[in-house]
């Protein structure tokens, strides 16, 4: 049954500052909130190989006091403004996201201007910052599925693109205050920075306010670091556990590739919704696992499909074989009804995305990062409507799942399928 809901007409406006910062705003009166996603050109790919985790450390440190506020005042004032915030270190970008009541947007942005441009990076708190990062590292060790994905990514991507954002123990412990400062100076800068804002605000006032906060931010000349490559890690990591975790990765096309939507739809047929192939074959029909999934992970210049399943050790071989068989079966093409169902889910998701200012603010910032423009809801809706299973099958002919990389974690290694 075709749906009749329409996305709301919203226009994304853009303003490029002379220093390279790009501001994108998509205002709407339909909400009471406003949210932003601020991306700075700092990420784990820029870390020296003996300082893995430096981006996370800097991300922690910039919140320990900024501008006129010490670390306690900084957090407290954000909370009084009712700001819900998150920080995330990626391959080439670190994102600072915040959502709040529309009336508090400008005040929140002012505080973030301090965080990004005038953090204290207090030497007296460097040890605390390192401990926080080390705690995160240790915690990741206790989550077997997370460990598996870390290993799979390391094996699936060329260095430095598959690094985990949490780095490693020696990288974090050896970082000095000087290095933190120098790394922040070099990478928290306007050239390549993107600020996406969504919600209830006035565009012209926003431009004025952002100009007053960031207009005089100085761009820094970058010098890329060339590093020796790091060994990528073994296929199997041994761990005494009830469950075995397995991962399969294969290359795909990044967001800015004109064929991205076809690849994305292909992965959706594999693993989006409970009638998708992996859920049906691995879980529903055979009861082999509770969690099985595949997702398309994109960076600017490369992408991978990452598949994961967790299963009791005795059934791990069968789970691997069945999962792999589904990846090969994709080469035979997708059916029209599979795509129609997927489209219904995607369309719902798009329309519901309008309801969340934070989801929208990060979507528009991300769009700019990959495409240097914003895709409107209408454009995306239209592209999805126009997609046919023939399109996807054409894509599959030209890019069949291949060049597989495997990773497993559990009491015993598995027999890997022969890659064709």
């Amino acid at each position: 049954m075709p749906s009749t809901s329409q996305v709301e007409q919203r226009t994304a406006r853009t303003h490029r500052f002379a220093n390279g910062l790009v501001l994108i705003g998509e205002p709407t009166e339909a909400v009471q909130s406003a949210a932003f996603s601020f991306m700075v050109p700092n990420g784990y790919s820029k870390e020296p190989s003996n300082r893995l985790g430096l981006s996370s450390l800097v991300c922690d440190m910039v919140l320990r006091g900024a501008g006129s506020r010490d670390s306690r005042a900084l957090i407290n004032d954000l909370e009084i403004l009712g700001v819900e915030r998150g920080e995330s270190v990626g391959a080439s970008q670190t994102s600072f996201s915040a959502a709040t009541l529309a009336a508090n947007l400008n005040d929140a942005l002012s505080i973030y201007a301090d965080i990004l441009r005038r953090p204290h990076l207090p030497e007296g708190q460097l040890d605390a910052g390192k401990l926080v990062c080390l705690q995160e590292l240790r915690g990741a060790e206790d989550d077997p599925s997370q460990r598996l994905i870390v290993n799979l990514r390391r094996r699936a991507y060329p260095e430095p693109w598959g690094r985990p954002s949490h780095g490693d123990e020696s990288g974090i412990t050896s970082s000095t205050a000087l290095e933190v400062n120098e790394y922040w100076t070099r990478t928290y800068q306007p050239q390549g920075a993107i600020l996406g804002v969504a919600g209830n605000f006035c565009w012209e006032s926003l431009v004025e306010h952002v100009e007053s906060l960031f207009g005089d931010w100085k761009a820094v000349e970058g010098s890329p670091i060339t590093e020796p490559t790091i060994k990528q890690g073994p296929v199997h990591v041994s761990q005494e556990s009830n469950q075995c975790h397995l991962g399969i990765a294969f290359p795909s096309v990044p967001y800015r590739d004109p064929e991205y939507l076809r690849a994305w739809a292909m992965v959706g047929v594999l693993s989006g919704g409970m009638s998708s192939r992996l859920f049906t074959e691995v879980r529903e029909k055979r009861g082999l696992c509770y969690t099985v999934s595949a997702s398309l992970q994109t960076q600017r210049d490369r992408a991978r499909v990452l598949c994961y399943a967790g299963t009791t050790a005795e059934r791990a071989q069968e789970t691997l074989d069945v999962t792999f068989a589904e990846l090969l079966r994709l080469r035979e093409g997708v059916k029209a009804e599979e795509l129609e169902r997927l489209k219904a889910r995607i369309k719902s998701g798009l329309i519901m995305q309008q309801e969340s200012t934070s989801a929208r603010s990060s979507a528009i910032a991300r769009d700019w990062y990959h495409l240097e423009r914003v895709r409107s809801f209408e454009e995306l809706g239209r592209l999805i409507d126009e997609l046919t299973s023939a399109d996807i099958n054409e894509f599959l002919e030209a890019h069949p799942p291949a060049d597989f990389v495997f990773a497993t974690l559990g009491p015993a290694p598995l027999k890997l399928p022969e890659s064709e």
Binding site: M1, S3, E8, A30, V31, Q32, S33, S71, R72, I75, E79, I80, L81, G82, E84, L101, A128, G129, L131, V132, Q135, E136, R138, G139, E141, D142, D143, P144, S145, Q239, E240, N242, Q243, G273, M274, S275, S276, F279, R283, E284, R286, L288, C289, Y290, G310, T312, E340, R341, L342, K343, A344, R345, I346, S348, G349, I351, M352, Q354, E355, S358
Partner: protein
Amino acid sequence: MKFRSHTLDNGLEIVAECNDAAYSQGVGFFVRTGARDETDEIAGVSHFLEHMVFKGTPRRSAEDVNREFDELGAHYNAFTSEENTVYYAAVLPEYQEPTIDLLADVMRPSLREDDFEMEKKVIVEEIQMYADQPPFGMDDKIKELHYGKHPLARSVLGTVDSVESLSPEQMRTYFESRYSPGNLFVAAAGKVDFDALVEQVASRCGDWPAQEVSRDIPAPKSGSKFQCVHRESATQQYILQLADAPPSEDEDRYAAKLLATIFGDDSGSRMYWELVDPGLTENASMGHYEYLGAGMFFSWISCDPAAAKANFDRLAKLQEQVENQGFTTEELRQAQSKVKARVVLGSERPRNRLFHVGGNWMQRREYRSVADDLKAVDAVTLADLHRVLKQYPLSSPTTVTIGPLAEWAQAK
């Protein structure tokens, strides 16, 4: 936003918060049943039944159910707790009728033997998955320790043994005794056509036979206990604490939530500044959880095993301090701002409103608008916080710790 409600002749209630400005709707069947309504023999049956609801009906196979949900573009799921089982979907408004048709149908599942035996394997996988990740089953263990043999102490998942020994007949008996129209209701939020909703639910569920359903709500007899469980393969040490707190029925639950926010929110709280910010722990937080007849202040610390005892002592000191000195006006004001913003931001998604509307109806048979909740948060005073703290002290909780430490006494 407008609240509407209606009761069918067989006792099935329908409640909705209607918002014409929303783009989507959330709708669900909320059943007043969970682990607390089980016996040892059928431990895990509520959760297993939740899975089986999606495995087909007299007119739909499991494959049909999955396919149809996806055809509706629904974002859907279900969950089971100690007290409730909820089945929900977020859909575009034009799919209201087919969604009700599907949800109402699966609420009368066939429980076919083949599907039952296959899904049993999935449940066992799920149990094994949770056993391998923090807190390694200690969330169940701490309830047992704190409450002893009380319905709330029952594990939602059950055990591998109890699940494996379940039969479709036992599940059917349980289903028939709990999924009666007077013991569940339909809730909806967002762009809902309420009159049509009533018609749609009435036509599918109006003939469900009503049946008396009851539930014991014994007062819990809790005590402070301590247990150290050795898990050599873990990297971190985990400390869980459980203390009594205001239950669902108590208006003091707003004060309790603010208290928990000030003391143990994962940012900006006392626990945060003392334990997280200096990097002494990976996580340290406390939350308030409400049930019928009981509430919980539930705390969690994860850290390096070598620092576990010191962190435990730091937490004890924080608890003692707050009981002696109370909270400040500043802290309360900050927590109120934070919580109110969360309420407003959350209210923008119909799916979130569905859980508020459904949750309030489930626990209290009451509707609270966003404005009502904001008002209730604003009305909390320092005196309220201190009164709750006096009635429900934080300083003598039950503690369970698990990790590489073989013995607690050995920790420095």
